[in-house]
């Protein structure tokens, strides 16, 4: 035995360290640095921290560890989608129905454009439809985080949030259907083809509605806004996030419905907006960092060209769709283009969707990976920059501010 038996082995065993806490603090510091010195969105710093920790970087997070924290990713996604659901504004859609037209068209055109690119690349139609459907969705985490960080308010911001909520809904529904069709291709019985997506949609709706009802009941019972209310919201959301997978329901769709219906059911506007505050912020930072760590940059060169084509097709489809209905939905043409930029981000949720799909149809996984992942890696950087550019150019951020005031 060595004289220095009391010293730890070097390097110390990684799994014993609170690396998640370490990752969080590095991500937070990187975020502040990026914001302060580069004037870029903080979330790029969070992403950089994740990449640095991940298999492609220092290797502190290997694939096994990343597999273990899938639960944490679910919580992050659940929280983001719960908030996103509350952004669905049926009143606005009723008063300005052209918004729904613009939303449908931007999603349809971006789907069609991406699908066409993938067909040209020689992917089978049904297989190609999956990434195209996934690509319709704008990253809600990026848009929500940026809008909050920049304290943006105005038509581009409000519409970006609404349209993100809608295109995520389309994507979630479309992917559920497509997965069922894929099952059919792999010779699963027709009952499953019909019954499975139906179960996913109806199940999410029922579970989300039940939680929305319970939440409002509990909050009303508690009365005035208090810490107890906050705890109840957090706990109920966590329970919903845990319960959905147990029932084989998609966390994302369930929490989205949950958020949307709390707003619909709250007729007295007791709880104008349910948020997770700083606690939610911590989870979202981890969501960004961990999903970035999941990115396999090694695949990027292989799919770079196809990925770039996808990115361009997606942006063109979205912007054309928005521009076509700009005037009728009361948006100046310039702002329609900015809105197209604001809808560019695409991230974590996509990856999880892709993983969900890969689990259900193993043959699909590797074929999808290279193209989607390189498009994703590009948009991981370009998306937030484009969205920040859009909010700033539209003049909707908290600056210009003059005179003294909080920074």
């Amino acid at each position: 035995m060595s004289d220095f038996f009391f010293l730890p082995a070097w390097p110390p065993p990684v799994e014993d360290l609170p690396w998640l806490a370490f990752l969080l603090i590095v991500a937070v510091l990187a975020g502040e640095a990026v914001q302060r010195w580069l004037h870029l969105p903080r979330l790029l710093g969070w992403i950089a921290a994740g990449v640095a920790f991940g298999p492609e970087g220092a290797g502190l997070l290997d694939e096994d560890t990343l597999g273990d924290i899938r639960g944490l990713l679910d919580i992050g996604i659940g929280i983001v989608l719960f908030e996103l659901g509350q952004r669905i504004d049926f009143g606005w859609l009723r008063r300005n129905p052209w918004l729904l037209g613009a939303s449908a068209l931007e999603s349809a055109l971006s789907f069609a454009a991406m699908w066409a690119v993938l067909l040209v690349l020689g992917m089978p139609p049904v297989l190609a439809a999956v990434p195209a459907a996934i690509g319709m969705a704008t990253s809600p985490a990026v848009v929500l985080t940026l809008a909050r960080e920049l304290r943006a308010q105005g038509q581009v911001t409000e519409r970006a949030l609404l349209l993100t909520a809608l295109n995520c809904l389309y994507a979630l529904a479309a992917v559920s259907m497509l997965v069922a069709w894929l099952h059919a291709e792999y010779r699963v019985g027709w009952t499953e083809v019909v019954a499975h997506p139906l179960y996913l949609l109806a199940g999410s709706l029922v579970l989300g509605a039940a939680f929305a009802g319970v939440t409002l009941g509990v909050l009303t019972g508690l009365g005035e806004r208090t810490d107890a209310q906050f705890i109840c919201i957090v706990v109920l959301a966590l329970v919903a996030i845990a319960l959905a997978p147990v029932l084989h329901l998609p966390v994302a769709l369930t929490l989205f419905v949950y958020g949307a219906l709390t707003r619909v059911f709250d007729r007295a506007r007791h709880f104008a907006f349910l948020e997770f505050g700083r606690l939610g912020q911590m989870v979202v930072i981890l969501l960004f960092a961990l999903s970035a760590a999941n990115l396999e940059f090694g695949l990027v060169p292989a799919g770079a060209l196809a990925g770039l084509a996808l990115v361009i097709a997606r942006f063109a489809g979205k912007t054309l769709g928005l521009a076509a209905f700009a005037r009728r939905s009361a948006l100046p043409a310039r702002k329609a283009v900015l809105l197209g930029c604001a809808l560019m981000p695409m991230s974590a949720v996509v990856l999880v969707l892709a993983q969900d799909t890969a689990e259900l149809a193993p043959e699909l996984g590797p074929a999808l990976a290279a193209v989607i992942l390189s498009a994703l890696a590009m948009l991981e950087i370009v998306g937030p920059l484009a969205a920040q550019f859009a909010f700033k150019q539209a003049g909707e951020t908290a600056a210009p501010r003059h005179g003294p005031g909080p920074a």
């Binding site: 038509q155 907006f273 009361a330 908290a398 005179g403 005031g405």
Partner: protein
């Protein structure tokens, strides 16, 4: 071009400006949507009918010149509907009320225009605090001397306007206990309060010239008096009213001012002396704090009564004038407020008590402004 020229305007004509709150439909907080809203309205309305204000979450409606209550109300309704139609497409809700019940003034973004930038440089954070919402009533005067006479004769009635229009009980998230918390935020400005007791326009000009030479002010816009002359319009401007929750009440207040001015111009029963200002601050405070229940002391007679009683006594005197001006309906509406219907501050407190949600209160204000509640 040193002297302020008092432009001639048709006596007893009316114009109204209303500062309105722009709120989102999600949590009913103020939203910086004036630029988008104004861009959409664009040239569809008479130039100047809808204008930007000091904060990006405010707009101002201004009517053209009217001689009758009915026409004024019709224009206010048309302006309201035009703004509502644009707001509906942009998901921007519009509300009356003297102050937003729960916004934090530190969150407000000030309008990026030269005049407002200058205000912000001079007043710092006070500029954000005065981002409150008032109704301004312009009454046309034959000349500058009459304008000054009216201004000082009206001072006795200033508490009426405060109490009748009061609609800002909630401020920064709490019940301020005031019916009009808005005037408290205006009172912090150094040039607020009452105009100096000057009754001749040439003397007023001399006063203004001195103040300008001293560098205290640059223009008449720098005075934030409760009632001030507006020489370029040929009017006096009553500025103490909170923006009411409905255009109907805004028009009724304007018609009340018109009838009152007609009475004061014709009867001239009591020439104002500086004594009217002995109890001015007291009455103003009582009106802000207690609304129509506030106490009014008549400095000339020493008589004390509630503001509601004094309004009703005044209404009785004004009936003949209102008839001449075809404003009996409006006068009736004012009497009803004093007789027990109560001001908008009371309506807001009753509404809030039902489910104790300030966002919901703002939503009700939005519905009320729309004319559907």
């Amino acid at each position: 071009m040193n002297a302020l020229e008092f432009k001639k305007s048709a006596t007893l004509t009316l114009g109204v400006e209303l500062e309105l709150q722009l709120v989102n439909t999600r949590d009913c907080d103020l939203t910086r949507s004036a630029p988008d809203l104004l861009e959409l309205i664009g040239g569809a309305l008479r130039p100047g009918a809808v204008k930007p204000e000091i904060a990006d979450s405010m707009i101002e409606l201004s009517t053209s010149i009217h001689s009758r209550h009915e026409a004024l109300l019709a224009e206010l309704r048309a302006l309201r509907d035009a703004v509502l139609a644009a707001g509906d497409r942009l998901n921007v809700a519009v509300a009356g009320g003297g102050a937003h019940p729960f916004q934090r003034w530190g969150e407000q973004r000030l309008s990026d225009r030269a005049h407002f930038r200058r205000l912000s440089e001079i007043y710092g954070d006070l500029a954000r605090r005065v981002a409150v919402f008032g109704q301004h009533i312009h009454v046309g005067c034959p000349d500058g001397d009459d304008a000054l006479y009216l201004l000082h004769a009206l001072s006795r009635y200033v508490p009426h306007f405060i109490a009748l229009a009061a609609s800002s009980p909630y401020y920064q998230g709490v019940d301020s206990a005031f019916d009009s918390a808005r005037l408290n935020s205006v009172s912090v400005l150094p040039l607020s309060g009452r105009a100096p007791f000057i009754l001749r326009w040439d003397s007023f000009n001399a006063y203004f010239a001195r103040m300008r030479d001293l560098g205290v002010v640059e223009s008449m816009q720098d005075f934030y008096w409760d009632v001030r002359p507006k020489p370029e319009y040929g009017t006096i401007e009553i500025r103490v009213c909170d923006t009411p929750l409905t255009v109907e009440r805004a028009a009724a207040l304007a018609a009340y001012a018109q009838a009152l001015c007609r009475y004061l111009l014709i009867e001239r029963s009591r020439l104002p002396t500086e004594d009217v200002y002995l109890a001015y601050g007291y009455g103003r405070f009582q009106a802000c704090r207690f609304g129509l229940d506030g106490e009014l002391i008549d400095a000339a007679t020493g008589a004390k009564r509630t503001i509601a009683e004094d309004v009703l006594a005044t209404v009785a005197v004004l009936e003949v004038h209102a008839r001449e001006l075809e404003g009996e309906d409006a006068l009736g509406a004012i009497a009803a407020i004093a007789r027990g219907e109560g001001n908008d501050a009371r309506w807001m407190r009753e509404r809030y008590r039902r489910n104790r949600s300030l966002p919901d209160l703002v939503f009700r204000q939005v519905e009320r402004w729309r004319g559907t509640a």
